[in-house]
Each structure stands twice: as C-alpha cells, then as structure tokens.
C-alpha cells in the first residue's frame, strides 16, 4: 500500500514510515527471532513469515495515527490485534515485544522530530499491552 502520491499533506514522520515499511518490518522480525530462537521451534518458518506480514500491518496502522497525531487510532488497533492474536495462541508478551523492538528501530533510524512523533503513538500502543 502506502503510495504517498494519493495521501496528500502527509507528515514527514508518516512519509518515512510509508517509505520504510518493509525495512522496518524485516528488521523487527529478524531481531525478535534472533533474540528468541525458540520462536522458530514454536512457530516455524511459516510463523516467521506471518510475523513479518503482521509487522507490515503494524507499521501501516501506525501511519494514519502518526499523520493525524491521534494515538487512539493506533491503540484501538492494538487492542483489536491483541485479541485476534490471542485467539490464535500468540501471547500478549510477544505483541508487546514487537512494539518495543519497533520503538528501538524507529529511535535508531530517524531524526528527533520524527522519532518524537512516531514514538508518542507507539508508546500509547505499548501501554495497551503492557502488564498491569
């Protein structure tokens, strides 16, 4: 998705997320499976592919929330996603870890203004799946 030409007035933060969706998804999925190799035993290559696709969706859902500076658009998605993944035996802590890794990735990649805009939304999403 994510063709900037049909999404006018998009913020710089939204633009870099759209541009780098695949790279971000790949970086986060690789890190997750490298730090927790047991996930390969649990989910296999198919699980890796699914995770990669879900990370693309996560970034895609981040874009409108960042672009409209509306974290609630993202938190509603994370609530929905967590319910959906738990129904498929993916525990909340793995969803949380993906978001934390995405946060780190954003932090190392972008300029201060973009990092602030993106991670304000990501933090709200992380809070949804954080253990109470």
């Amino acid at each position: 998705m994510a063709d900037p030409s049909i999404t006018p007035h998009v913020s710089e933060a939204g633009r870099v997320l759209m541009r780098d969706t695949d790279q971000l998804a790949l970086a986060v999925t690789d890190r997750l499976f490298r730090e927790s190799p047991e996930l390969f035993d649990k989910y296999g290559q198919r699980g890796y592919e699914k995770c990669l696709q879900d990370m693309r969706y996560n970034v895609q859902h981040l874009v409108p929330a960042v672009d409209m500076a509306d974290p609630s658009m993202f938190t509603r998605y994370i609530e929905w996603l967590d319910e959906l993944l738990r129904a498929r035996n993916v525990p909340t802590r793995e969803t949380l870890r993906c978001l934390e890794l995405l946060r780190n990735e954003v932090f190392t990649r972008y300029k201060r203004a973009e990092v602030d805009a993106i991670n304000a939304v990501l933090d709200a999403g992380i809070a949804v799946v954080q253990p109470k």
Binding site: M1, I6, M68, Y77
Partner: protein, 217 residues
C-alpha cells in the same frame, strides 16, 4: 432459533440455500427489506467478522459468508424493487482505495433506492482519480465513502480533498462510515466529511435530513 440465528448459522456453514430460505420466509411473512437487512443481514455479518477475529472462521469461510449475504440481499432487493420515474436526489457510494468491505455501502444504496433516491453503487477499492472522474460525470447530491481499517482513513481524506477541489456544478454532501469511523465520531470531521453514521439505517435518515431537507448535520 430466531431467523437471525438461522441466517448466521447458514452463513457459517456456507449454505446458500438455507440462507435463501430464511430471507424468503421473512419476505413471505411480510417483513420489509429494511427489516431483513438491518435485523438479519447486518448483525449476522458483524458476527461473522467477530468469528473471524476469534479464529472460529477462516478467511475463506468469511468470504463464502459474505458472498451468500450479498446474494441474499440481491434476492430480497429484486423481490422488493419497484419501477419509479424521476428518482432523486442522487448519491454515489464508494469504498476507499484498497478497501474491500463493501456490503455496508451496498445496504445503504439499496435502502436509499427503495426510498426513491438515484443511487450509483461503486463498491470496493476505487482509485481517487477514477472516483473524482465519476463524480464529475454523474454530479451527485451526496457521496458516501467507507473505510474499515485505519490505514484507509488517509485515503478517504485524499478522496474528499480531491472531490472538494474538483470543478463541480455543486458541492455534494459527503458522508463517511465504516468501522474505522465508528469508535471516534470526531474523525469524520477531521478527514473533511460533512457527516457520519454508525449503520445503514442511521445513514439513511441522516442523508435524508441533510440532502432532502437541507438541514445541518
């Protein structure tokens, strides 16, 4: 089982005949299209969506259910349809680009059509340029746009921006709907729409007030 439970059950099993039997029985007992759409089809499709989310239905089963629901609607519409001259006002209904959840807009168009409106049902995933071209050509009084997921909201906004910038004889009333707009009523305004509704029935009365009677949203 209530007719709604029977209909949902038929959708879950992918049983088109049983679904048709439910709607035929409702028609035979005098239920209007509006009640069949709003009390049977709409809640059943919301349940189907939830069942997919709960991992109780696969995507393939959900698609079968959707196809049967749409076929059932066609059946009811066909049997309720009356020829009418001078249909007015005109509405054009389309999903955002990449958005494929079209059944709500179809429901809206069928309800408005029976109410005397002239409806142009565009349906799923329409590129902005192509949508604007059709708006310029058909010159509608109202436009309904739909998005289910948040990533499609900027596309709705892009469509509205492009429609407002187009060279039109009159500016149409623009309404938005779909799950992406349900939980936050302020979002509709922020994408530039005039109005939003939570389901097809509310959209009908809202559009009637705004377009036919020129009342403010």
């Amino acid at each position: 089982m209530t007719p709604r439970d029977e209909f949902l059950d038929a959708l879950k099993r992918g049983d088109r005949q049983s679904a048709f039997r439910v709607v035929d029985a409702r028609l035979a007992s005098g239920s209007p299209l509006r009640d069949i759409y709003l009390d049977i089809v709409q809640p059943s499709m919301r349940d189907i969506g939830q069942l997919w989310q709960d991992n109780a239905l696969t995507i393939a089963q959900e698609h079968v259910a959707t196809a049967i629901a749409e076929a059932s609607m066609s059946r009811v519409f066909e049997r309720t349809f009356v020829w009418r001259d001078n249909r007015t006002p005109k509405i054009l209904a389309a999903c955002a680009e990449d958005e494929r959840h079209q059944i709500g807009l179809r429901m809206l168009c069928d309800l408005l059509e029976l109410d005397g409106w002239d409806t142009v049902y565009v349906g799923a995933s329409v590129p902005v340029e192509s949508l604007v071209g059709l708006v310029e050509k058909s010159n509608p009084d109202a436009i309904a746009l739909s998005a289910t997921i948040a990533p499609h909201v900027p596309r709705v906004r892009a469509a509205i921006t492009a429609i407002r910038a187009a060279n039109l004889k009159r500016q149409p009333v623009i309404a938005v709907g779909g799950r992406a707009f349900l939980s936050d009523p302020s979002l509709a305004r922020r994408v530039g729409a005039d109005a939003t509704a939570t389901d097809a029935a509310e959209a009908v009365s809202l559009l009637d007030a705004l377009v036919r009677h020129g009342r403010a949203a």
